[in-house]
Each structure stands twice: as C-alpha cells, then as structure tokens.
C-alpha cells in the first residue's frame, strides 16, 4: 500500500484549519486574560456591582 503525496488543495485545507485553530486558541487566551484582569481589579466585587432589587 502506498500513500500519495498531498495535493496542494490538502495543504491549503490544513493551513486553513491550523489558522482557525490558532484564532480560537487566541480568543480563549484573550477571554481568560480579560477575566483575570477584571476579577483582580475588583470589577465583580459586591460593592462595585450594579444590583437591582
């Protein structure tokens, strides 16, 4: 059994999938980072929170 070399189209598809993966990982890092910043500076402390009765 022999494997054929990847056609250019498969390489392009792989590049696109890796690109999307990188974007998603970057998004997770940003959301995590923003959460850490907002929590540590007290945005969600009870005295800073907007509470409605």
């Amino acid at each position: 059994m022999s494997f054929r070399d990847d056609h250019e189209i498969h390489k392009r598809r792989l590049g696109r999938n890796l690109g999307v993966a990188a974007v998603l990982i970057g998004f997770i890092v940003i959301v995590f980072g923003l959460t850490v910043v907002k929590v540590t500076r007290g945005d969600y402390e009870p005295e800073n929170a907007v509470v409605s009765d």
Partner: protein
C-alpha cells in the same frame, strides 16, 4: 489525474487562511491599529495593558470586518480595476457570500467584545464606524458622488477617537482633532493615487473627482485640502496631545507636504505624463509617511510625559 484535481479545486472553492485574512484588508488594518493605539495612549487616564491590547485588537477586527463587507459589495467594481483585480473575490478564491458572512460575523463579534473589554461608548463608536464605511461610503457615496472620498474618509478617521474613548469613555477636543487630521489627510492622499492610476476608476464607472471634474480640478482640490490639513495638523501642536516634538515634526512634514501639493497644482497632464507621474507618486508615498510620523509624534509626546519631556 491532475485535470481531476484542477476541477475539484475549482468547484470546491478551497481558499487558504491567507485568502480570508486578505479579505480583512491587512494594510488598512495596520493603519487602524496604529492610529487607534496612538489615540488610546495619548488619552488622559489609564487602562490595564491587557485591556488596551485587547481593545486595539477588537478595533482592528472591526476595521477588517468592514473591509470584508466592502469587498463583498464592491466585487463587481473590483473585477474591472487593475489595482483590485487580484483581491480574493474577483480572483475567484472566495465566494462573495462568504465574505459577507465573515464581515457580518466579525462586525458583531468585534463590537460586543470591545464593549465587554472596555466600555460601551467605544463599542458604539466602532459600530458606527463599520456602519459608516459599509453603508454610507460603500453602498451610497462611492457610486454616487465625486465627494465620496471626502465624506467617506470619516470612516478611516474614527479609530483614534475609538482608542481615546476606550480610556476616557467619551469624546474631547483632542480626539476630534485627531479625527479631523485623518479626515483632511484622506482626500489629498487618495486623489494623488487617482491621478496616476489613470483610467481604473473610469472603467469601473466610479465617479471619482478626476473622472467627473477632470484632472485639473483634482489637482486644485489636492492643493486646497493640503492647506486645510496643514492648518489642522499645526493646530494640534497647541492642544494637550501636542508639544515641542510634535510641533517640530508637524512643521517639517507640512513644509514637504505643502511643497508636494504646490508642485502637483502647478503641473498639467502633459508634464505629468512625460515623467510618468513622478511627483504624484512621490506625493502619495509622502502622504503615507506623513500620517505615520505625525501620529508617531503624538505618541512620542504621550510616552515621554512620565519622564517630564512630553507636552508643553
């Protein structure tokens, strides 16, 4: 076998990641990133560096989204112009509907994320910028009036205001002046390009000033807008974002820019075509350097303040 592959390639519309990235107009995005960053850093107040980084990223994504929507709406024109023929949609790499979907998705994403990361005023300003570029400029002004680039230029002038609003949550005289700076810079920058792009816009039926009113009128307009730009950019020196570094930079740059505008104003088409539009091309290149250095000077004033050097 190779023919089969070629057919698959054509029918599948398999675009690479770079093709999607090209939809976001990365060169325009770099200008958006730079001017928004200057607006953010020059603003009075402080935001956490990670929030600042995220905000600039979301502003850039918003700018890219409006670029994708512009390419979707302008695909018919882009096919007719040499300058834009190789863009992903006219080149057949990406379907127009894909560009529309990407543009709409990224627009919503960038506005919501900017609102969550910083404040909703800046997010609203970003939403308005996208609306202005896509609806007011691309859908309406571009195909209707030779003043398209003048009024539409406002869309490219908003990023420093958004950056400023990320820190302050509002608008001020300084942020409006930074807006006006780019607003006045856009017409001479773009019209210089039009002069040496020859018949591109005419072929596409876009009513650019040189198509509707002739090249003489375009040269006159470049000169008048350059004078207005000089007044605004020197005036910025005497506000809170200006200072001696900015003033010297502005005076030198404006002297060169005005000299270029006068040269273009004094030339006619015969002279310009004899040297292959050398002065117009040089003026266009100078305009790019001009904006970079003038905002770089505002940035220099801002970052030197803590060391007692920036500002008056």
């Amino acid at each position: 076998m190779s023919d089969t592959y070629i057919d698959i390639e054509k029918e599948s519309g398999e675009a690479g990641f770079g093709d999607y990235f090209a939809l976001l107009k990365p060169r325009v995005m770099s200008l958006v990133v730079f001017t928004a960053a200057v607006g953010l850093l020059a603003a009075p107040g402080h935001v956490h560096p990670f929030v600042a980084f995220s905000a600039i990223l979301f502003i850039a994504v918003g700018g890219g989204a409006s670029g994708a929507l512009n390419m979707w709406l302008d695909a018919d024109i882009d096919r007719l112009m040499n300058r834009t023929r190789s863009r992903p949609i006219p080149a057949g790499k990406i379907e127009a509907e894909e560009a529309m979907a990407l543009g709409v998705a990224l627009s919503g994403f960038s506005v919501v994320m900017l609102g969550l990361a910083s404040n909703w005023f800046s997010a609203g300003l970003l939403a308005f910028t996208i609306f202005f570029y896509v609806v007011v400029y691309t859908m309406w002004l571009k195909r209707w009036t030779p003043q398209n680039i003048v009024i539409g230029g406002a869309a490219g002038a908003f990023p420093p205001m958004i950056g400023w609003a990320v820190v302050t949550g509002g608008i001020s005289v300084e942020s409006l002046l930074m807006f006006t700076l780019i607003f006045m810079w856009t017409p001479p920058h773009f019209w210089a390009l039009c002069l040496f792009m020859k018949s591109d816009y005419k072929n596409a039926g876009v009513p650019m000033l040189h198509v509707t009113h002739g090249r003489r009128a375009t040269r006159n307009h470049i000169f008048v807008y350059t004078i207005l730009l000089v007044l605004i950019s020197v005036g910025v020196a005497f506000t809170n974002v200006g200072g001696p570094i900015y003033l010297i930079t502005a005076l030198v740059l404006n002297a060169f820019f005005l000299e270029g505008a006068v040269a273009i104003w004094c030339r006619d088409e015969q002279q310009a075509s004899q040297d292959s539009y050398k002065r117009e091309k040089a003026f266009f290149k100078l305009s790019l350097l001009y904006l970079f250095l003038i905002f770089g000077a505002i940035l220099a004033e801002a970052v030197l303040v803590p060391y007692g050097l920036g500002g008056w």
